[in-house]
């Protein structure tokens, strides 16, 4: 990894991979990023240059992190069970409603095993537990059940 200052624009970070492909990231001063890959026939020229906002760059970093896992926290796909984190948006109809209103287990067979709220986790929330926007629910069930739960939780 090496850096080159680009006066008036920002800083460029270069990386040459083990396969001798060269890629670079430009950190613009306004917080946006450009990701560049180079042409095999002209190693000085960008074949593609993607301009990312800071939010898009964060998502990309998440996906690139070597220790990043799939949303599933249970690697039990071979048993037919999955566990996923599902975030409740602030616009969700469930914001401020209680767990019982969801009727998740009845509808989908999936269970909410925990709710993560900011820094603390609430294990096995009861039917009178009140949800809030921004909560992350850990849902366990079959693939279809969890997908169904995600659809219900996603209602706005």
């Amino acid at each position: 990894m090496s850096t080159t200052p680009l006066p008036g624009i920002g800083v460029q970070y270069d990386l040459t991979t083990r396969e001798h492909r060269h890629l670079s990231v430009i950190a613009h001063r306004d917080g946006t990023r450009s990701v560049n890959v180079y042409r095999p026939d002209d190693p000085d020229a960008c074949a593609h240059s993607l301009h990312l906002t800071s939010a898009e760059a964060s998502s990309l970093i998440d996906a690139l992190m070597p220790d990043h896992h799939s949303p599933s926290v249970l690697h039990t796909t071979d048993l037919g069970l999955v566990a996923e984190r599902i975030e409740l948006s602030a616009h969700s109809v469930w914001n401020g409603r209680v767990m019982g209103d969801l009727r998740l287990r009845t509808e989908t067979g999936a269970s909410v095993v925990a709710v993560l709220r900011r820094a603390d986790a609430v294990p096995s929330p009861g039917p009178d537990y009140r949800l809030a926007g921004g909560d992350t629910l850990i849902v366990v069930g079959t693939r279809e059940g969890v997908d169904g739960a995600a659809a219900i939780l996603g209602r706005e």
Binding site: T3, Q12, D42
Partner: protein, 407 residues
Amino acid sequence: MHSAVFLIEFGAIILGLGLLGRFAGRLRFSPIPLYLLAGLAFGEGGLLPLGASEEFVAIGAEIGVILLLLMLGLEYTASDLVSNLKTQYPAGLVDFTLNALPGAIAAFLMGWGPVAAVVLAGVTWISSSGVIAKVLGDLGRLGNRETPVILSVLVLEDLAMAVYLPIITALLAGVGLAAGSVTLAIALGVAGLVLFVAVRYGRVISRFVSSDDPEKLLLVVLGLTLLVAGIAQQLQVSAAVGAFLVGIALSGEVAEGAHTLLSPLRDLFAAVFFVFFGLHTDPSSIPPVLLPALALAVVTALTKIATGYWAAKRAGVGPKGRWRAGGTLVARGEFSIVIAGLAVSAGIEPMMGPLATAYVLILVVVGPLTARFTEPVALKLMALRGNGPAAPAAAPERVEARVDVRD
């Protein structure tokens, strides 16, 4: 009553510029030529002479120049400038020789005086960093190997402006050699001092200016800039240089903040400045200078291509990238007009304004095109000449301007 007429006139100008700018945006090219043309269309010998807003436009134009230079200074930190000067000065010298001299020679050929020659040298010398930065972004070439080379040429030109502007200000003021040397010594001394202080104590200055509240930051930076520009003007150093040095002295977070706050102001007043320049150029004076302007544009486009080629070669960039670097540097724009504007307001050479206008109109439009097409055209020509396109050189290890980050 007078103020009503003024508001109507000035409002119409600004609105017209806004619509022109939108039109330019749709065509994806710089609005500068359209602003110039708008200025030509009104004013002296144009369709509709302006009366009431003339004076305000003149002051606005002056503020436009100051803000253009301030923002240029904010783009770079003092250490950027110093490190570029250390590593890239040969490219700067080649750039000066190849691009300033044709302007000076052209002025002599047209029978103009030495002062006009120095001014025209500046007009053909300085590339437009604004247009070029935009073109690089649009073409997705920010990550290219030749881009740091292009940028360092631009940085050196901008740094050279700090020396060059006081020289022409002194020349245009018509001071004698002795007085001129004193002025120049003062200018260079001040510029050197500011650079030194900015490298050493940039943090202290920035802390003095710094403010969490955007409103106060805007007022402090703008006030400081205008004040320093005025004092510089009073010392015969040139207001623009004063503003540029303020920009250099501000660094870090303050520079970022000031940049975002002042951008809209800069856009407004810079547009007013281009219109003002057009206003003071009589459209009927353009056709006679069209041929010299065209010839000068062709010659200096080729010399810029040569400059970029040479600078990129020196940095170890492959042949294709060298042509790209050359083609990208062709665009001239705001600073050519700033330099010519100083001459026009001093009234040295009546043809200077029309010539500079025509010249910039040509190159600001052609520049983005050469940036795009120089490489394929050059390679085709090479192939036709039978020596075939050079094989892309294996990328040599870049040595200069690199810091290895161990992580």
